[in-house]
Symmetry: C2
Subunit: 213 residues, 2 copies
């Protein structure tokens, strides 16, 4: 099946499979059946087999799935073996937290650099990153020279669209948007993934309310 024809629901389950399989690997489990996996993840065995079969035949009748092999297939489906390059745009509070806490390498991403407008930040080293913080004026050139795939957008809300425009112009391929605002990439086919903390908390809030409110 063509990747673009895979439903969004399936795509969103793939990272969950990855997490669960990593967990099982840590526990030294070697194989797992769709039945067992389903029980552990709260999915039906059917759904699991359907999901995987969108991408190939990863199991073996009478045996189930070899966890390491399956993990590697899913990692590859997700692009973890492509070494996608990432830059951070806006080294504020959130940007720093990501640098300090998110293990880009573990998921196959390469953090190439970080940019900020504030001159006083330029030159500071960044944990796990080959280059120190750079000024925005060098950003466009950097993106095209290194063929950067993904920009993490973590500038203040008011600057989100201007920063986006710059990224679009520079030829970025995807934006991971932490600005808590809708950004517009025009008619480019740049992929955007938004992190809206408020959406998540409000969904939790909804659940907290019982049937009697």
């Amino acid at each position: 099946m063509k990747r673009s024809e895979i439903s969004k629901n399936v795509v969103r389950r793939l990272p969950r499979y990855l997490r669960k399989l990593d967990e099982l690997i840590k526990l030294n489990v070697e194989r797992v059946s769709s039945n067992e996996l389903g029980a552990q993840m709260g999915l039906t065995p059917s759904q699991i087999r359907q999901d995987f079969s969108n991408f190939g035949e990863f199991g073996q009748q009478g045996y189930g799935y070899n966890i390491k092999a399956l993990r590697s297939e899913i990692a590859s489906i997700l692009g973890m073996d492509k070494g996608f390059s990432v830059i951070l745009v806006g080294v504020g509070n959130i940007g720093h937290t990501l640098i300090d806490n998110f293990n880009f390498a573990r998921f196959g991403f390469r953090l190439l650099g970080a940019f900020d407008i504030r001159k006083d930040l330029v030159g500071s080293p960044i944990q796990g990153c080959p280059a120190p913080i750079m000024g925005v004026e060098t950003q466009e050139e950097f993106i095209s020279r290194h063929n950067v795939d993904i920009a993490i957008l973590s500038v203040p809300r008011e600057k989100a669209q201007a920063a986006t425009d710059r990224l679009v112009k520079a030829g970025i391929k995807a934006i991971w948007n932490f600005t808590d605002t809708t950004i517009n990439v025009g008619d480019s086919d740049i992929k955007v993934e938004d992190i809206y903390f408020s959406d998540s908390l409000l969904a939790l809030s909804y659940l907290l309310l019982g049937d009697n409110d």
Copy 2:
């Protein structure tokens, strides 16, 4: 319709409606039809009317929806008028970022306090929070005394389950989990909402790959 019978998809769209309506309010737009709203959000007018009609009749034939009124209805459906109380458990990098950047009050939540194991942090004031950082040993008593609704779990991964156990024991009602690990609340009916940054980035990575990989 009973709240618990509303499908997950609908619940996840509610915060999106809220955001869009806030945006329209800012632009001083007064009314909107399902047609127009759908065009702006990439949804069909039918879906929008179906979604709203799960909760009541918020529109008017021939007119559409009054934006402020609709916004207020949705806010109420999401529990934003309940004043749910929140505490932060683990004042590390991520915890600090949330305190500094997330506008709890704007969404109707009350941040009551923050807790940490590290003695040197205890006593430091917290932006927009009535109490300074407290030690974990006082946490359980605090939760029951203030009847705390939601705990933001932002401790290091290794301490996630132990911290969860403490929260469950103290009678917390919901956990907003930033630990990037699966936490287990046993058979309690505590609501859990996970923020998995990696899931989000990997979904973006999947999209980045074309049909030929």
